[in-house]
């Protein structure tokens, strides 16, 4: 299995949509074959269309607000010692997380295809919040599928979704988290694909959804590349990019533009959710060696039992609480381009405490996982090593959990 240079990773799949011959694909009911093919044709055409790119860039610039900041975490660097710790503050984006890029592109595609309704899944609530924002912006009716457990633990985002005029549809099946929300959303699409567009909230699902999402979030690394050159004159000789990985949309977007660099120069570190330290459950299929299976239309490493039933996950972070992982990350793992590890709930909370203590930055629980590993590893590296952590979400949505786990002062400070 080999990663090709000079070809975007999203376009390295084969005719049937498999990366490396075995990850991804289209394991979908017959009814979805046609709508997926239609979407593929539309996307393949538009991603080469200058007018469409200009339109995308216009909304990215004027509405989402690009570029997001690239800042040095001076105090944290001094405290930790070792490598310089920087952050790409993607949570600056309109709505407070990277999910806005994919949501915007899906709404633009839906408009082009003449669909009036758009549906989407959400875990942490960000994908849902952003889709509801974009749908409102582009005059589309919007329905968001969300697990009942996530609805109760991510209330600020649920309120935002409703405020944007979208309908929140609670999903009560299974573990009542993201995995069930994606299933229910796909089921709704099966029944309504003639009138409705579907947005999959991460780089998961049938191949075209993986590609659209990866194409959209790649905005992050396009900006970062310019910002790095701006700050250092060139891409640093020792660059390490840390990102949390749930479905994998922010990390893929954070890394994409650096794909062709040698990994000794630009190393990618993906941090999965290890779950509570004392629990056997986790959301880290790459770190803990889960087997390949089929989930939501794609072949990927996925937590499952020997019969092929998908296993329940557990993580403090709703956005990472997913048993599978993007086929793109499976591909990056097996080609050894990226390195994957996990942080536990407790480690993420400690990292959150440290970052908020030293910096004017409040990463949500998802990027707190990435900060945890970055902080741990920074000590081992030389001063000329540049660590960049993608702070891809804002902690506002987690205020309930953080207050419960760490006390009130961590919600109020900063």
């Amino acid at each position: 299995m080999k990663l090709k240079k000079g070809i975007p990773v999203i376009d390295q799949g084969d005719k049937l949509g498999f990366w490396g011959g075995k990850f991804g694909g289209n394991f979908v009911p017959e009814t979805l074959k046609k709508p997926i093919e239609d979407l593929e044709i539309l996307f393949n055409k538009l991603k080469k269309d200058k007018n469409f790119i200009n339109e995308r860039d216009k909304y990215f610039k004027n509405w989402i607000g690009v570029p997001t900041r690239f800042i040095k975490l001076e105090n944290l660097t001094n405290y930790v010692g070792g490598a310089q710790i920087w952050s790409k503050v993607v949570s600056d984006a309109n709505g407070g997380a990277h999910k806005i890029y994919n949501a915007t592109v899906h709404c633009l595609l839906a408009k082009r295809s003449g669909k009036k309704v758009i549906i989407g899944d959400t875990g942490a609530g960000y994908a849902g919040k952003m889709l509801s924002m974009a749908a409102k912006k582009f005059g589309l009716k919007c329905k968001i599928f969300m697990g009942a457990k996530d609805i109760s633990r991510q209330q600020p985002n649920v309120k935002a979704i409703k405020k944007n005029g979208a309908e929140v549809i609670p999903v009560n099946s299974g573990s009542q988290t993201l995995v069930d929300a994606v299933s229910e959303c796909m089921r709704y699409w099966v029944a309504n694909c003639d009138t409705t567009a579907m947005c999959v909230g991460s780089t998961v699902g049938p191949a075209v959804f993986v590609r659209i999402c990866g194409w959209s979030t790649s905005q992050i690394s396009r900006e970062l590349k310019d910002q790095l050159i701006d700050k250092f004159g060139s891409i640093p000789k020792k660059l390490k990019l840390y990102n949390c990985v749930g479905g994998g949309s922010s990390s893929f977007g954070f890394w994409n533009e650096f794909m062709d660099y040698d990994k000794n120069q630009c190393e990618f570190i993906g941090v999965e959710a290890g779950g509570p330290a004392e629990s056997k459950k986790h959301a880290a299929p790459l770190t803990y060696g889960s087997k390949i299976g089929i989930l939501h239309g794609a072949a990927q490493y996925v937590n499952q039992n020997s019969d092929g039933q998908i296993e329940e996950t557990e993580s403090i972070s709703a956005g990472l609480d997913y048993p599978g992982i993007s086929p793109l990350h499976c591909f990056l793992k097996d080609t050894k381009r990226a390195r994957y590890t996990a942080a536990s709930d407790e480690e993420a909370l400690i990292a959150y405490k440290l970052v908020t203590k030293f910096e004017k930055l409040k990463p949500s629980l998802e990027p707190s996982h990435a900060f945890s590993v970055a902080i741990k590893e920074a000590k081992k590296f030389s001063k000329d090593t540049i660590i960049v952590v993608n702070s891809c979400g804002d902690a506002y949505k987690d205020k309930g959990i953080i207050e419960k786990k760490l006390g009130k002062k961590y919600v109020k400070s900063n």
Binding site: E30, T31, K33, K34, G293, I294, Q304, D307, G308, I310
Partner: protein
């Protein structure tokens, strides 16, 4: 030797009626009970579809989901399902059995192992909901080599060009999804519209048998009588749920339901 599925379809055809296909989930609500249910409906059903429960079913509505989750919760494993089929076949050797499920279960078992086990247990056909054409080409061929009918699904969204190619590659029986819906949806298109699609498929190759499923209940079944076969699934799963809730015997109630269904298409 003809596949029992073909024989059953031909027999119904000779009797000038559609074949009745039932769908129940293996292990719902227990291994033993699901076997009893199969026995009780086999008098009136021509072909038995046995669902392999999966916990992330992307094409099933709430009735079948409820049955599947119940079966999984009660501990059904894939080897138990083969055992249920085997036990049933000891009593009713010629009654065709189709396993219906999602690809991950087959993938984890290993395609070859799975088919070997199907053969030993007496499975006659397979429906794999999320393994569409052309992705299913290799697996369908392996099925054919083992004389197991791989049933292709056709949908109202399937383009004409695709229909032709799928039917060309298909085995003894195809399955037309009546409408855009998960299983168990309310029939939202007219029977006339469904039969129009059906006839279009039959025109491509009149010799290939095509059954219709999704949204078929006691109320709607007689309107689709002209098809080669009709599948009832969610209505049966719903009956099981209802019986369990009211502490009645699902085996008896489902048996009665299937008998009523049969009377409507005679």
């Amino acid at each position: 030797m003809s596949n029992p599925i073909s024989i059953a379809l031909k027999k119904a055809n000779k009797e000038n009626r559609p074949a009745l296909l039932t769908y129940t989930v293996a292990g719902d609500s227990s291994k033993k009970q699901s076997l009893s249910i199969l026995k009780s409906i086999s008098k009136n059903a021509d072909i038995l579809e046995v669902g392999v429960p999966h916990n992330t079913p992307v094409a099933d509505g709430s009735q079948i989901q409820t049955s599947a989750y119940r079966a999984i919760k009660n501990g059904i494993k894939i080897n138990d399902i083969f055992q249920v089929v085997k036990d049933f076949k000891k009593l009713e050797k010629s009654k065709p059995i189709i396993l219906m499920g999602y690809y991950n279960m087959i993938f984890q078992y290993g395609e070859n192992n799975f088919l070997k086990k199907c053969k030993i247990s007496g499975v006659n056909g397979l429906i794999v909901v999320d393994l569409p054409w052309p992705e299913n080409k290799n697996f369908a061929k392996k099925c054919k080599d083992k004389s197991i009918c791989f049933i292709q699904l056709l949908s109202p969204t399937t383009t004409n060009k695709r229909l032709k190619r799928i039917i060309q590659d298909s085995h003894e029986m195809n399955y037309l999804i009546s409408m855009l819906s998960t299983t168990g949806g309310k029939l939202k298109v007219s029977p006339h519209e469904i039969l129009k699609n059906y006839k279009k498929i039959k025109r491509i190759n009149p010799r290939k048998k095509t059954v219709i499923g999704f949204g078929i209940t006691e109320k709607t079944i007689s309107k689709l009588k002209s098809a080669d076969g009709l599948v009832v699934g969610s209505a049966i799963c719903k009956e099981i749920t209802k019986s369990l809730k009211s502490r009645q015997n699902p085996v008896i109630n489902v048996g009665k339901l299937v008998s009523r269904l049969k009377n409507k298409i005679k």
